[in-house]
Symmetry: C2
Subunit: 366 residues, 2 copies
């Protein structure tokens, strides 16, 4: 078990990564945040609850109230936020209530947003059950939902009181989801942790076979990297931008495919390939470095084929919310284990990179 301390100007909390956390959840929460109030809500998906509800319930002396959010990005909506807050009111929820978000990134994002706005804010903990949520979405305080116009366009910054990532929950994760989640760890390594890159190169088999020790090592390193960045820049004004490595084109791919054809991590995988292409042309990485990083990305693939045209992907990048005041911000690696933000990527550079990515997708995509 590993505990990573997250410190931001607005909150300090622990991320616990290890086995057997779900069976002892209530006790762990109370140890971390103090005695739980009378009204405890658990937001989860029907699938996760079917698998883990029994274990979780055993740890509570008084049963929490369970709220459901169906799986899938299409349910990350304002409509569901309104429905959930209404259900909480009708179940007697008040300003003293507490929320546990038990599930993947979508449950975490929606649950965190519900906690942020219900009665103008109640405390909550994240209990991520997917690899992606454990390494990424449950740390950093970004919560919110999508609009039909784009992803994560509405939300808040709200830090959880604690995060419990149970490695056991990953045992039931589909292989494709594990691989997609691992793209965030690849990203973590490329932008800030050269040792993690090497570990993921050398232990790919163990990681993909879900050996607990290997997984714990990768997850803890990824969380530590993100926690360090968030500590230095909670509100995403500067450094934190580097976490968006691979995301400009990644989000465009998701939008161009209406969030249906691929998983977020897969889109980020391809987005990293496009970003590497921009970096290579600019000379911020060598040809050998580019090959090494691309090889690592494909090692944790396969990534899906891409059907969108270059023009369609380019159009989708135009509405990317990472652009402030029209300036196109873009994250580039500088060698391996370091990254920075540039603001002068031209449409021509973007197009060349998108075309390189689409060409690679014809070879590597499955």
């Amino acid at each position: 078990m590993q505990t990573i301390r997250v410190e931001t100007p607005s909150a300090k909390y622990d991320v616990v990564i290890g086995s057997g956390l779900l069976e002892t959840l209530a006790q762990r929460i109370e140890r971390a945040v103090g005695r739980l109030p009378r009204r405890v809500f658990v937001l989860t998906s029907p699938e996760i609850w079917a698998l883990w509800g029994h274990s979780v319930l055993r740890s509570f002396s008084e049963a929490p109230l369970v709220l459901f959010l169906p799986a899938g990005e299409q349910h990350k909506t304002m409509k569901n936020v309104e429905r959930l807050t209404r259900e909480m009111i009708r179940a007697g929820g008040d300003r003293g209530s507490f929320l546990i978000a038990l599930g993947g990134g979508i449950v975490g994002d929606v649950g965190g947003f519900v906690a942020a706005i219900f009665m103008r804010g109640i405390p909550f903990v994240q209990v991520p059950t997917t690899f992606l949520a454990q390494v990424d979405s449950s740390v950093g305080g970004k919560v919110g939902v999508n609009l039909p116009e784009g992803k994560n366009l509405v939300g808040n910054f709200l830090q959880p009181r604690a995060v419990f990532g149970d490695i056991d929950a990953l045992g039931t994760l589909p292989d494709r989801e594990l691989r997609a989640g691992l793209m965030e760890s690849v990203k973590a390594g490329i932008i800030r942790d050269r040792a993690l890159v090497r570990f993921m190169e050398e232990h790919a088999d163990a990681i993909l076979q879900r050996e607990p020790k290997a997984l714990e090592r990768v997850i803890a390193a990824s969380v530590r990297m993100k926690a360090d960045v968030v500590r230095r820049d909670e509100r995403e004004s500067g450094l934190r931008m580097i976490l968006n490595f691979g995301h400009t084109v990644g989000h465009a791919l998701e939008q161009a495919t209406r969030y249906k054809a691929m998983l977020h991590g897969e889109a980020v995988g391809w987005g990293m390939v496009a970003a590497l292409a921009v970096a290579r042309r600019r000379g911020t990485i060598t040809g050998a470095q580019m090959e090494r990083m691309e090889t690592l990305i494909y090692r944790y693939g396969p990534l899906p084929r891409l059907k969108a045209s270059a023009a369609r992907v380019m159009a989708a990048t135009g509405s990317d919310k990472k652009n402030v005041g029209g300036v196109r911000r873009f994250v580039l690696p500088f060698g391996i284990g370091e990254a920075g933000v540039v603001e002068d990527v031209t449409p021509d550079e973007m197009e060349a990179a998108v075309k390189y990515m689409l060409a690679r997708a014809r070879v590597e995509g499955q």
Copy 2:
């Protein structure tokens, strides 16, 4: 013109009260918060825009994008929040955008909430155009919307970058709205400003005839009182509770009448009468003090007749969100100019107070 400094742990900003602010709004905002970005949104109601849009527009070198919220509590919904954020995206809004909430309390509450969650938060200013919004809802950082289950059940705490309350805008305010708004100033005096109580007793004619100096004095004193309380307790954990004087029963009246039969200030007016009745029975105020305060409330009436039964009002108090963990918190005056929170008001005391209020409403209500 008077400027009141509001300081909270999360923000510091000025509330400016005076004449001629709307004609010079853009310059005043830029002086307070720095250069405005390219995308400036104005959220307002069609009525306010018809009256003041021309004046406001003249102060901008580049026209802001105008978003509309129809007047009326029934439009303070999640649905409208979603619609507005979508309109902002489609109009090119991004994380660098800026929002001006120009209108009454509902525009301020919805506009502030939209600013709080659009792209996880953009800066905004409040430009309240009603008496109530100038003294109350634009100071304190409470923003949000209603659910069908009750008022203000969803929202955030977010402080504006500045508040500009133009006395001129009050010239077109219906008399009933002015009187309802003045109930918040009566409240301010009763709970924390004995001098304001005396001023409102002695200058009732001037205030009700809207003499600018008298209005400015009352508004500034009310804002100063609230700013002082909010500074000491931004998140409403202790002292700030006293601002809810008159609101427990007031909210119940609004709910029992589905927010249609009376204005918020009128409901608070009757709610204060009920709270005075509890205080009198407990002996925290004398009979003479009670009479003096009741007289002041009716001086700024007339308050509307009440059609709800005692049972219905009592039932509605049960879901009041000011109750934490089931404890019934209640604000009582201690003499004139001071108040405190008690937690042991019994259903019997509540019922007696509600019945006293309903009896008085048969005599004083119109």
